[in-house]
């Protein structure tokens, strides 16, 4: 690698990290789902074990998940405070992704300039930038998957074989989404057979090993889940009413903006060229990942957000091939006197990438400081066995900050009555009948109801319609008068159905 390229690459990585961190600090607090992961890391820090049996979530339940991410974070949390780890470390992981993308792109396109552009595109990919405030397994998984791909590309070298085995092992213990890689490999084999390409024996061996290893680890950790839910485990037991949120039908314009317009168009061109004209086997591998991602997302087998992240990065890598081809083409024309291509490319990318990236980072939904204070108040002022009602996404705030049991959160697996719970939560927010509400609160052993400004916006609700002074006391209120700064009200229920009758 040329020194100039190394400087540029370092600059891209640094720039990505600084901007991610800036946005992470501009937006208050972490995204809603992060608090589940924080709690797991904290538990490992305290006991050395993940919380596979959670007494607070859904009033007590079993959890199934892969633990590597939590152990890694817990290790760092021994040295640095968890709050710092939660903000800084995921952003470091994703800031290193441009470096991995550079290595893959250089290996495929043999162009350092194109690889640098691929790295830049990855660093500021809108869909990835929207995760600046997220503390979740995907933050580690995405770089790991691409590092695995890089090791696979160089599998003939022994050190990369060991590197592949190690990283694949870690990925398989980080998230089941690693299946995306396996699926890509299978499609790669099929494409190669269709194109009469001679497949490297070592590659077949690696693919077979990866497949078996992945299946084995998943069976090891999700044995109970598979036995209980059968094939339904794929859809994570998500309530029917919100399944479209997790697996939305693909809206092409929205998807194009999130993966950025330029790499998307370039990607289509490269896929066409590689498949029908060049028959480039390196590109085949990446195209296989594009196909596998699209296939899995289309059939709702992996969450849409993750598929889009993966898709976006693969497109960025393919962009390096497009850039190199374009550079070579321009070199043959009369307008090739000066190296103006990089400048023009940056000018094109600026409005189509950096702006959507910044906007998506700022539009992430996170709880406000006032809302979090309300949940912290619960921890200090309510009985330990009390149950708290909040919206689905706020479920982890109850277990993390309030340390009380919730009615629902987004960890749906192994919950038998998830659909009826979801419906009951909806009823609790919208019913006008006090008996119905009290009956449901009693059913789930809930004594406190939290009404945050987030809930007010989402449910289009000013207050609960069944509140009466006889049964419900307002025990906490930190709403700002104009409601703009966020805040929350907490009500305590005194009635039971029998008393009420």
């Amino acid at each position: 690698m040329e020194r100039k390229t190394a400087y540029w690459l370092a600059a891209i990585v640094l720039m990505t990290f600084i901007s991610r961190l800036t946005f992470a600090l501009l937006v208050p607090n972490l995204s809603y789902d992060s608090y589940f992961h924080l709690r797991q890391v904290e538990h490992i820090g305290q006991t050395g074990l993940p919380l596979f049996n959670d007494p607070l979530s859904y009033g007590g339940r079993d959890l199934t998940f892969l633990p590597f991410f939590y152990y890694l974070m817990a290790l760092f949390a021994l040295i640095v405070p968890l709050k710092v780890v939660a903000i800084v470390l995921p952003n470091i992981f994703l800031s290193l992704l441009p470096l991995i993308v550079f290595l893959i792109s250089k290996n495929i396109s043999k162009s350092e300039e194109g690889a640098l552009f691929a790295a830049l595109l990855t660093g500021f990919l809108p869909i990835l930038f929207a995760t600046a405030n997220s503390f979740s397994t995907e933050m580690l998984l995405i770089p790991l998957l691409f590092l695995t791909i890089y090791a696979f590309l160089r599998i003939s070298e022994k050190k990369y074989l060991y590197m592949y085995i190690l990283i694949f092992l870690v990925s398989s213990l980080t998230s089941p989404v690693t299946f995306l890689l396996i699926m890509g490999f299978i499609i790669y084999l099929l494409l190669s057979i269709l194109e009469n390409k001679k497949i490297n024996k070592a590659e077949i061996e690696v693919i077979l090993f990866s497949f078996l290893f992945f299946v084995w680890t998943q069976f090891l950790f999700f044995k109970q889940l598979f036995a209980q839910e059968g094939l339904g485990f794929i859809w994570q037991n998500i309530p029917k009413a919100i399944i479209t949120q997790y697996f939305p039908t693909i809206s092409l314009p929205q998807a194009v903006v999130l993966v950025s317009v330029v790499p998307f168009l370039a990607g289509i061109y490269v896929v066409y060229r590689a498949l029908f004209q060049l028959h480039n086997s390196r590109a085949f591998l990446l195209i296989s990942f594009v196909i596998s991602t699209s296939f899995l997302a289309w059939f709702r087998l992996i969450p849409f957000k993750i598929s889009l992240m993966f898709f976006g990065v693969v497109l960025a890598i393919l962009f390096s091939m497009f850039y190199e081809e374009l550079r070579q083409y321009i070199a043959k024309t009369k307008i090739a006197r000066k190296n103006w291509l990089p400048g023009v490319m940056i000018l094109i990318l600026l409005p189509t990438m950096f702006l959507p990236a910044a906007l998506s980072a700022l539009s992430v939904e996170t709880p406000s400081n006032r809302e979090i204070t309300a949940f912290q108040w619960i921890a200090d002022h309510t009985p330990e066995k009390a149950g708290v009602l909040a919206r689905l996404e706020e479920g982890h705030l109850i277990t993390y900050y309030a340390s009380r049991h919730n009615l629902i959160d987004d960890q749906f697996r192994l919950i038998k009555d998830v659909n009826s719970r979801f419906e009951d939560v909806n009823i609790l927010y919208h019913t006008t009948f006090q008996t119905q509400a009290i009956g449901l609160l009693e059913k789930y052993n809930i004594q406190y109801i939290v009404l945050t400004s987030h809930t007010q916006q989402k449910e289009k609700l000013e207050t609960f319609r069944y509140l009466s002074k006889k049964c419900f006391d307002l025990v906490y209120n930190n709403f700002e008068e104009n409601y703009e700064g966020g805040g929350a009200q907490i009500y305590q229920n005194h009635c039971t159905i029998r008393e009420h009758r």
């Binding site: 074989l161 085995i165 078996l212 059913k443």
Partner: protein, 477 residues
């Protein structure tokens, strides 16, 4: 110097590996017998430890009930499918019928080993095939359940073990065993017909006599049992069917095969295809019959499983003899495969201990036997129906193997009813006087709506309960 040492080490490890395999192959009878005994022993001991009834699965009790019905009513044409079991229960008391499934599977295993050796399959193949077979959940089910599959495999393999004998009188004995197969069901008869056809054509013209004779007998018996005994195409189902779950035991199925064996099976299928080995031709030809049959009724899993295991053994053998470019991965891959298969078998065994009747269920069923008058109809979850029939010796409204669509709809409507206006007419129309609720049924029903809520009505009376298990009486009026 270093490279030499490395080479020597590699050679040594290869030698060690082949020595280990050779040792296993040399003593395969011992190791496979020990493995079989261990697996069966663990299953039975776990069952005994949990004080559960001896047989696993609803199917055992469905057959026992059917055999008892034949005993009671002399001979009924409608229960012809359970005729072999009826014959057994005539000879042996029911308590001793316990030993029949393991005994039949041992004879089946011995016959299978004998056939494979006679047909000149390699020692390695026989070892892996029997190893995968013994470890597979479907085989464990055969060993612990009185099932049509257990009887079918015993008779089928015995027939072919006799047919390949060199002495003629042994071969003629095969006609006796093969004649019973069509009494099980039409599907078993059909498979036997196809197998005999393949076998007959594989022999010299002068040696085909007994095969054609057996084929003729099977065809006649098949026709006769279909017309006079009213045998079903495939017996069952005896449980709620799920295509994926019934095939892959890891997904919570009550039989089937491990996911790893399925992967190996697919691999073996693809690898064996280009070789066009004549011995594998029947297996490829059986698949177009077995796959639709499995989709039609998942009780056909046993026959399908044995073919998948056959291909899986082919794949395992291929992987062992294949020259790996990355020897490190070879060791990892084999280790993973073995771990995966063992892990899957152990998971299945541990799940088996969670199934079957609990003490409370046994207690309530015993109470029902003593206190509920005969001739009354009891509604229950279909998965509990055969237990109720056998242990309480009462008529149940609907079982999975009834194959009566209207009854199935009514039974579903009973347990899904949300209003008495929906529930009462069904109960009255079908003359149902009792509702049995097992622990599983209570778990599946919602506590504050649906049937459990409707049971608070004055026309229902809780007659007896133990823990979560309940029997409710319904006043017909």
């Amino acid at each position: 110097m270093t490279s030499k040492t490395k080479k020597e080490k590699n050679l040594q490890s290869t030698r060690d590996r082949s020595l280990f395999l050779e040792h296993c192959l040399k003593h395969q009878k011992l190791y496979l017998s020990l493995l079989f005994l261990m697996m069966v022993g663990v299953i039975f001991l776990t069952n005994q430890g949990a004080e559960k009834v001896f047989f696993y699965g609803e199917e055992s009790y469905a057959h026992l009930v059917a055999a008892e019905e034949i005993n009671d009513n002399n001979f009924s044409f409608t229960t012809g499918g359970s005729y072999p079991l009826y014959l057994l229960t005539k000879i042996l008391p029911v308590v001793y019928v316990n030993v029949i499934p393991p005994l039949l599977t041992i004879i089946s295993l011995l016959s299978l080993g004998y056939i494979l050796r006679k047909k000149e399959f390699s020692q390695e193949f026989i070892f892996f095939f029997l190893l995968l077979l013994i470890l597979s959940p479907f085989f464990m089910t055969l060993t612990t359940t009185i099932s049509t599959a257990t009887i079918f495999f015993f008779l089928f393999l015995l027939t072919f073990a006799l047919l390949i004998q060199s002495k003629r009188y042994w071969r003629y004995l095969a006609i006796l065993s093969v004649a019973v197969i069509p009494l099980i069901d039409q599907f078993s008869g059909l498979i036997t017909v196809l197998a005999l056809l393949f076998y007959g054509f594989s022999l010299k013209k002068s040696e085909r006599g007994v095969s054609w004779c057996s084929l003729g007998v099977v065809l006649l018996m098949l026709l006769g049992s279909t017309i006079w005994l009213n045998t079903s195409f495939i017996q069952g189902p005896f449980h709620e069917e799920h295509l994926a779950r019934d095939l892959i035991s890891d997904l919570g199925g009550k039989s089937g095969i491990s996911f790893f064996v399925l992967i190996l099976g697919v691999l073996g299928f693809l690898l064996a295809w280009p070789k066009k080995r004549i011995i594998l031709a029947p297996l490829y030809l059986f698949l177009p019959l077995l796959i639709p049959a499995y989709i039609y009724n998942t009780e056909a899993i046993s026959e399908l499983s044995i073919i998948i295991i056959f291909f899986a053994s082919e794949a395992l053998l291929f992987l062992i003899n294949y020259k790996w470019q990355l020897p490190t991965l070879r060791q990892f891959t084999f280790f993973l495969l073995l771990l995966g298969i063992f892990f899957s078998s152990l998971a299945f065994i541990s799940r088996l201990s969670e199934t079957g009747l609990s003490m409370q269920e046994q207690e309530v069923l015993a109470w029902m036997k003593e206190n509920i008058p005969s001739g009354t109809i009891i509604a229950s979850f279909p998965e509990d129906a055969d237990y109720v029939s056998y242990f309480a010796q009462k008529t149940v409204f609907f079982t999975f193997h009834d194959q009566d669509k209207q009854k199935e709809l009514d039974n579903t409507a009973i347990f899904k009813a949300t209003y008495v206006d929906q529930l009462f007419p069904i109960l009255v129309r079908n003359n149902i006087s009792y509702i049995y609720l097992s622990t599983t049924a209570k778990e599946k029903l919602s506590a504050d709506q649906g049937l459990l809520f409707l049971l608070k009505n004055e026309r229902f009376k809780l007659l007896h309960s133990a823990g979560e298990v309940e029997i409710w009486g319904f006043e017909q009026r």
